[in-house]
């Protein structure tokens, strides 16, 4: 017998949902607030929670977070938040751990569709509480091309690429777009007087992946050691490309004048170590020399491919076939894509370029970026656990991005896949521990 828990101050609402569930053979528990709901769920662990955010607003989000912490990862429950149709509640409830969001008044057909979809494979286990010495990942910049400040991007964030990874004592930073500025401030606040040693992995030297470095506070402290790792570019070495952005026409302080120890290492081979973490690199289809990285952490493998245009889509486009890739045969394109799938296979977390929608892609063939539909398809084929859409287009509003996530989830559901699709969002932190990985 499946147990469902309905939490709402509104007795009418509770009754309506309860009778609908009972008709579908659920045992239904009702609670009027968060505390009662938590008590009930500890006594009778539910398989479904439907939580109304409308009235005790903040407590609803709080409840979702607490449920996430409490629940048994082996027996996860589906959390559906309901609230008004405004975007902030929608985004925030997903962030707080809800699996789905429904606007009020409740559309029972939608609820029915969600239950049908979710009753197949169990939802992927959510991250549990922080594990000491575990693996943590935090997004500091998720935008592609150019920083996009403004009210319309405030939710997912407008800073360009930067992801922080903590594995034990290792600090690994992926790219240094403008998101590295707030990361630097956070590191300085955290370490205070202790020296900071870290590895910065650069995928390529387009502006949106390096422009934040001159504003990275730890690089201005002589006690700190920053090892910048990347590959030689198509035109010149990493050292000269990175230091050129700090020459006097563009910036008043040269890289040489930064007081921190900044070491730049260019790799020849595709396998190396960042601290204790084994890393594998893969060259990607993007203008210039661009790499993706796969990092093997105790919390599972994390693959980061911020800029890539998947080849078969490019090949399939008639315009591209005539101009850009006229020598490339479909077999080669297929081979390239297969290599990428092998590279990301079974990753716990995949952070992948999803700059466009399939419709927009038609106008941006050969720009070196993918559409979200392909991104999800690749994650499905590679049996990835969690996919984060990344490198959001500067013209995409929060609303558009969340629609792309919804579309991605639809695709995953249609394939009956447990793949969890999310959009990377500034400030979002994942805790990956070894236990969660085995589920």
């Amino acid at each position: 017998m499946k147990t469902g828990l309905v939490i709402s101050e509104d007795v009418e609402f509770r009754r309506a949902v309860a009778s609908w569930l009972k008709e579908r053979h659920w045992t239904v528990l009702e609670a009027r607030d968060r505390e009662a709901g938590l008590k009930l769920s500890q006594k009778h662990p539910p398989q479904l929670v439907l939580c109304d955010l409308l009235r005790p607003r903040d407590h609803g989000f709080q409840f979702c977070r607490e449920m996430l912490q409490l629940q048994d990862p082996a027996n996860p429950c589906l959390m559906i938040a309901t609230g008004d149709s405004g975007a902030p509640d929608h985004f925030q409830s997903l962030e707080a751990g809800a699996d789905e969001y429904l606007a009020q008044p409740l559309d029972f057909e939608k609820l029915s569709a969600i239950l049908a979809r979710r009753s197949g494979p169990p939802p992927a286990a959510a991250a549990s509480g922080p594990a000491p010495g575990g693996t943590r990942l935090k997004f500091w910049g998720v935008r592609g091309s150019i920083p996009a400040p403004g009210a319309e991007t405030a939710y997912y964030g407008g800073n360009t690429s930067c992801v922080e990874l903590r594995v034990g004592n290792d600090i690994i930073i992926l790219d240094s777009g403008t998101g590295i500025r707030p990361l630097g401030r956070a590191l300085v606040a955290e370490f205070k007087d202790r020296p900071i040693h870290l590895n910065l992995l650069i995928t390529h030297t387009h502006w949106d992946h390096i422009q934040g470095f001159p504003f990275f506070m730890p690089a201005y402290d002589p006690r700190n050691r920053i090892t910048v790792v990347g590959f030689e570019g198509a035109r010149q070495g990493l050292q000269s490309t990175l230091s050129s952005q700090m020459e006097s026409p563009y910036f008043p302080i040269t890289m040489h004048q930064m007081p921190g120890h900044v070491l730049i290492e260019e790799f020849q081979g595709l396998d190396f170590q960042a601290g204790a973490v084994p890393v594998r690199a893969q060259f990607l289809n993007h203008p210039g020399a661009c790499t993706g990285y796969r990092l093997a952490t105790p919390g599972g493998d994390i693959s980061y491919l911020p800029d890539v245009e998947l080849c078969q889509r490019l090949r399939a486009n008639p315009d591209a076939a005539q101009s850009r890739l006229d020598t490339e045969t479909p077999q080669i394109a297929g081979e390239h894509d297969r290599k990428i799938i092998e590279f990301i296979r079974d990753s716990e977390v995949l952070i992948l370029d999803a700059q466009f929608t399939a419709g927009e892609y038609q106008e941006h063939v050969g720009w070196g970026h993918s559409c979200a539909e392909d991104t999800v398809a690749f994650a499905l084929r590679a049996k990835v656990k969690r996919l984060f859409l990344f490198h959001h287009d500067p013209e995409h509003s929060d609303e558009q991005i969340s629609r792309m996530v919804a579309r991605g989830r639809q695709i995953a559901a249609r394939h009956n896949s447990p793949l969890r699709v999310e959009a990377a969002r500034e400030g979002l932190e994942l805790v990956l521990d070894a236990a969660a990985k085995r589920l």
Binding site: P149, N159, Q236, T241, S244, S248, P249, Y250, P252, T254
Partner: protein
């Protein structure tokens, strides 16, 4: 270049500086030291004198009008014969590290900060007479197209109406997205001015992306003629250009005007940001008709709009613009560190308080006040509050107190605090604007003080009949 065992005797010195008082005192001391002195008030005249008189020593202001000191030094170092060996001293108003570096790279022997004392000069002459040659080899000079026209005019396709100013990017240093900057905005410098049929854009920070999208929506692909004035080439003033939609429309004409920088020409600097390590589309590949013209004159016209320029106190070559429109003057000084405060904080203790030292700074600030005098709208660097400034002396930015003081001194009507610091949230900027208004109220003045905000449009009064 190897130093000769015996230093050559120095006979002739060439002084290049717009400031007559600077030239007078230096000339006196040089004559006392036994040199013949020739003088020029601008870099172009200086260059002619250098070629005809072949001086042994050249002292040139790094921001000399018509041909800046960096430019002149590079030019002379690239000449065959004695020009490449003359002692070249660049003089500047501030001790910015980047300027010293720029001087070295341009091939100068020394960089001195004004006001130059008699002792400084004597010590330098001693070094030049006694010790080995310190001249660095001349750097290769990149090929440059002919000088740009001095009075550009853009064809206008802007609907008639009162002159207006619209802010598209107001942030300094680095774009700053996020919920805490949503009100004032996180995009870097870009201001649109429409006046007298002209579309003039001030700087191309990330704000220019939004402007481009808005122009496309407004004009729906109809051809547009625009003039983009660049104050200087630090990232936050040029980084949006590759994303300026209007530059990708082949029907559009975009004229970019600015000054040659300390290190390289404007064309080189702007197109380098679109080279393949950094950006996938080359500058030459942009389909719009784009011309880049390096300015020499400090006054020119864009159609009927008269434009004046002034060099600002900021690392490298940085200018402010004044647009005299029929609706009044719009002055744009996005990056500037007021001289008096800077001098007071950075001078050596024994002379910082000296009258001569502060008088010089005072004169420099008065020049700036004259430049913005009576402006309807003044857009001015006020990155810090007074307390923050104390730990950022010499960074090339001003504080809100000095911005208000300058606006009051110059009888400006409306002051817009600009170039907001990336670490300032909306609340902080609001407090800074309130602080400025309280300052004005305490003096019973009528100056209007606001913080520049993305999307804010200022309509200038209609032209007087």
């Amino acid at each position: 270049m190897a130093g000769s065992a015996r230093a050559p005797r120095m006979k002739t010195a060439l002084l290049i500086d717009e400031d007559r008082m600077v030239r007078e005192s230096l000339a006196r001391w040089l004559r006392q030291a036994g040199l013949a002195v020739i003088e020029a008030a601008d870099g172009e005249t200086g260059r002619e004198l250098a070629l005809t008189h072949k001086p042994d020593l050249i002292l040139c202001d790094q921001l000399a009008p018509r041909c800046n000191g960096f430019q002149l030094c590079r030019f002379l170092r690239a000449q065959p014969g004695p020009h490449s060996r003359a002692r070249f001293v660049l003089t500047g108003s501030s001790a910015y590290g980047a300027d010293r570096q720029g001087a070295v790279e341009a091939g100068a022997d020394e960089h001195l900060v004004k006001p130059i004392s008699e002792q400084d000069l004597a010590r330098l002459l001693g070094i030049f007479r006694g010790e080995g040659n310190t001249t660095l080899a001349a750097l290769p000079r990149s090929a440059r197209k002919g000088p740009g026209p001095s009075a550009p005019s853009g064809g206008g396709s802007i609907p008639p109406g009162p002159a207006r100013v619209r802010f598209w990017g107001v942030r300094g240093s680095l774009p700053t997205p996020g919920p805490s900057t949503v009100h004032y905005g996180g995009n870097t410098s870009c201001v649109e001015v429409r006046a007298d049929g002209q579309l003039i854009i001030l700087d191309a920070g990330t704000g220019i992306r939004g402007l481009g999208l808005s122009l496309a929506a407004e004009f729906k692909g109809a051809p547009l003629a625009m003039t983009l004035l660049i104050s200087h080439t630090h990232w936050d003033h040029i980084q949006g250009l590759p994303f300026f939609d209007a530059a990708y429309n082949p029907a559009n004409r975009l004229r970019i005007l600015g000054y040659e920088g300390a290190q390289a020409g404007l064309h080189t600097v702007l197109s380098s940001q679109m080279e393949s390590p950094y950006f996938p589309v080359g500058f030459q590949q942009m389909p719009g008709r784009i011309t880049i013209e390096e300015l020499k004159d400090d006054a020119f016209c864009i159609g009927p709009v008269e434009v004046k320029t002034i060099f600002l106190n900021h690392p490298g070559v940085c200018v402010g613009y004044r647009l005299n429109t029929s609706g009044g003057a719009v002055a744009y000084l996005p990056d500037n560190e007021p001289y008096q405060r800077y001098k007071f904080h950075t001078g050596q203790p024994e002379i910082a308080g000296s009258t001569e030292f502060l008088r010089y700074a005072q004169r420099m600030d008065e020049r700036l006040a004259d430049f913005v005098r009576g402006a309807e709208v003044l857009i001015l660097d006020s990155q810090y509050d007074l307390e923050e400034y104390q730990s950022r002396v010499g960074w090339g930015h001003g504080c809100v107190d000095d911005a208000v003081a300058l606006a009051l001194q110059a009888d400006v009507k409306r002051l817009y605090l600009f170039h907001h610091d990336p670490s300032h949230n909306d609340e902080k900027i609001t407090r800074m604007a309130e602080w400025g208004r309280a300052f004005v109220a305490a003096l019973h003045e009528s100056l209007q003080v606001d913080a520049a905000r993305e999307g804010l449009e200022v309509v200038l009064p209609p032209a007087p009949k």
